[in-house]
């Protein structure tokens, strides 16, 4: 064996070992992603060009009929496309002052406790909390209280308002946290400088605070938006099967009408819509805040 090839061989070996380690590190995630993300996606893509079997379920075919039928769920898509941004916006309007207070106004020693109080609701099942709202908004809750003061027969539950309230309630912490993080990182000297230069508190807020917290706002907004696009529980419990999101239409197609192909077509469409929404959110946030990308975490 020529002496000169020894280092090359060892280098090749170490390169091989390096690649092996890399492959081993990536393999579990890769397998997971392929088996539980790519494969299911391929499966519903195949199903979406199939037909409903006579007794329900799936029957192999090659047709675009399911996609052609999408307008039959136009209202559900429309509800989702209206109520998801509306919900995210309402969430933002409630969350921003809270995050602002926590990050910039609350006394230092209270800050952690208050933050913990924001997170703790996450630890009680969202279902239970939403059920509590069913009670509060239902006939024995607020309407019963109002009946005492003479306001009779008020109906709160099963209205779009109730769904919106449930959305704000459920997703508020998810909106507060990213905004809090971006406000907390804010360099306070900027605020002082702005005030020193004679800016009013309002213009300081608009030109410094709000501007610099935009990445947090966009993160929270897109996070809530994306989750809302697939929402099922809140409309089910607080909307009484009347306020239908696309997620509800989807579940309905699998659990009641047993039309798997059409459900698959809707699922694919929903994924595409989600991706588009995220890309648009990214664009907007990039334009608003220079070069910052929206991270979902």
């Amino acid at each position: 064996m020529p002496a000169g090839s020894q280092p090359a061989f060892s280098m090749r070996r170490s390169l091989f070992r390096k690649n092996l380690v890399t492959a081993l590190l990536l393999a579990p995630a890769a397998v997971w992603l392929v088996v539980f993300l790519v494969l299911p996606f391929v499966a519903i893509a195949i199903f979406s060009v199939g037909e409903r079997a006579p007794e329900g379920g799936y029957q192999a075919a090659l047709t675009l009929a399911q996609y052609a039928n999408l307008p039959a769920r136009a209202t559900a898509f429309w509800n989702t496309m209206v109520l998801a941004p509306a919900g995210a916006l309402a969430c933002l309007l409630v969350a921003y002052p809270v995050a602002y207070y926590l990050a910039l106004r609350a006394p230092q020693r209270w800050r952690l406790i208050l933050l913990a109080l924001i997170v703790i609701p996450f630890w009680t099942s969202l279902l239970m909390r939403t059920y509590a709202w069913m009670y509060i908004l239902g006939g024995r809750g607020i309407p019963a209280l109002l009946a005492y003061v003479g306001i009779e027969d008020l109906r709160l539950i099963n209205t779009p308002g109730a769904v919106l309230l449930g959305i704000v309630y459920g997703y508020l912490p998810l909106m507060i946290l990213p905004i809090y993080v971006s406000l907390e990182r804010l360099d306070r000297r900027l605020l002082e400088a702005s005030a020193d230069l004679g800016a009013t508190p309002l213009s300081t807020f608009l030109s410094v605070t709000l501007r610099l917290s935009l990445p947090g706002v966009m993160t929270g907004f897109s996070l809530v938006m994306i989750l809302l696009l697939g929402e099922y529980l809140i409309p089910t419990l607080l909307g009484g099967g009347k306020v239908f999101f696309i997620g509800n239409a989807l579940v309905d197609l699998f659990l009641q009408s047993r039309n798997w192909p059409f459900g698959s077509a809707i699922a694919i469409t929903l994924v595409l819509v989600s991706v588009v929404v995220l890309i648009v959110a990214n664009r907007i946030s990039t334009r608003l805040s220079g070069a910052r990308r929206v991270d979902l975490i």
Partner: protein
């Protein structure tokens, strides 16, 4: 502004207060308060279905979060060592795992697994020597995998962000001092990314523990706590459910306090 913040906190805690209050209801329904009693705590803890649902949820959340933390961290480390094209592919898939709505994950996993089992089970049966071949079916495995998908993507991103802000000089200094890569990893990299891994684990656990819609589709005959609660809402909630929810709440608050106390002990000033 203070008043507004106080109002928001009241809004956040009103339903929780109700959940806790009704757990002490003497009556049979979670909709009419008829007097104080702690009987439902005993009933809840002796209801085999409720206890099993709680155990299942704890087991599934722990396992999927552990797997996600492990595989996610490994993937984040691996992604540091690959070319841009592989990286972009992984990033796209991980992003998709986070963005695809839970309801779609649940349904597509169900569809894929049902088809897969339809092929694999007869195959296993034909190979198996005895009359009782193993049968793959929906259950713990499918819930853990479906929950873990989202969690793993989350961990990979959190740890990845942390890794990219890691001090390169330390790593290089370590290898200059002839530390093996493993030693460098153990003594330099791991301590720095540990907070990110823990954060990822906790997020993953919380997500899995509270998830309804994915489990609803892929659980098969298994019940998780959210599935049990959903079924109870349909058949009429008894204060048992409130009792379990209260126990879970108290346990998690205790854990948070414990964690705070531990952190406070380790480093006096944050």
């Amino acid at each position: 502004m203070r008043a507004f913040v106080v109002a928001v906190f009241a809004f956040l805690y009103l339903p929780i207060a109700l959940v806790v209050l009704f757990s002490f209801n003497a009556g049979h329904h979670a909709s009419e308060f008829t007097g104080f009693s702690a009987q439902w705590y005993g009933k809840a803890l002796s209801n085999p279905f409720l206890v099993e649902a709680l155990k299942n949820s704890l087991f599934i959340a722990t396992t999927s979060a552990l797997l996600a933390a492990f595989c996610g961290t490994a993937a984040a480390l691996g992604l540091q060592r690959v070319g841009t094209r592989t990286r972009a592919l992984f990033d796209a898939l991980l992003g998709a795992a986070i963005v695809v709505p839970g309801v779609v994950i649940g349904i597509s996993t169900l569809v894929a697994l049902v088809q897969l089992f339809a092929v694999v089970n007869p195959f296993l049966a034909s190979l198996w020597p005895t009359d009782q071949p193993p049968r793959l079916s929906l259950g713990y495995g499918s819930i853990i995998a479906a929950h873990g998908l989202f969690s793993m993507a989350l961990v990979t991103m959190i740890v990845g962000t942390r890794l990219s802000s890691l001090d390169r000089n330390l790593v290089e200094a370590s290898s200059d001092l002839y530390a093996t890569p493993l030693t460098t990893f153990r003594s330099i990299v791991l301590p720095q990314i540990m907070p990110a891994i823990i954060a990822g684990f906790l997020l993953a656990f919380t997500f899995s523990f509270d998830d309804f819609i994915i489990a609803f589709f892929v659980a098969g005959a298994q019940t998780t706590l959210p599935i049990y609660v959903f079924a109870s809402i349909r058949r009429g909630v008894t204060p048992e459910i409130n009792a379990i929810a209260t126990i879970v709440l108290c346990a998690s608050v205790l854990l948070v306090l414990l964690a705070q106390w531990q952190l406070g002990r380790r480093k006096p000033s944050p």
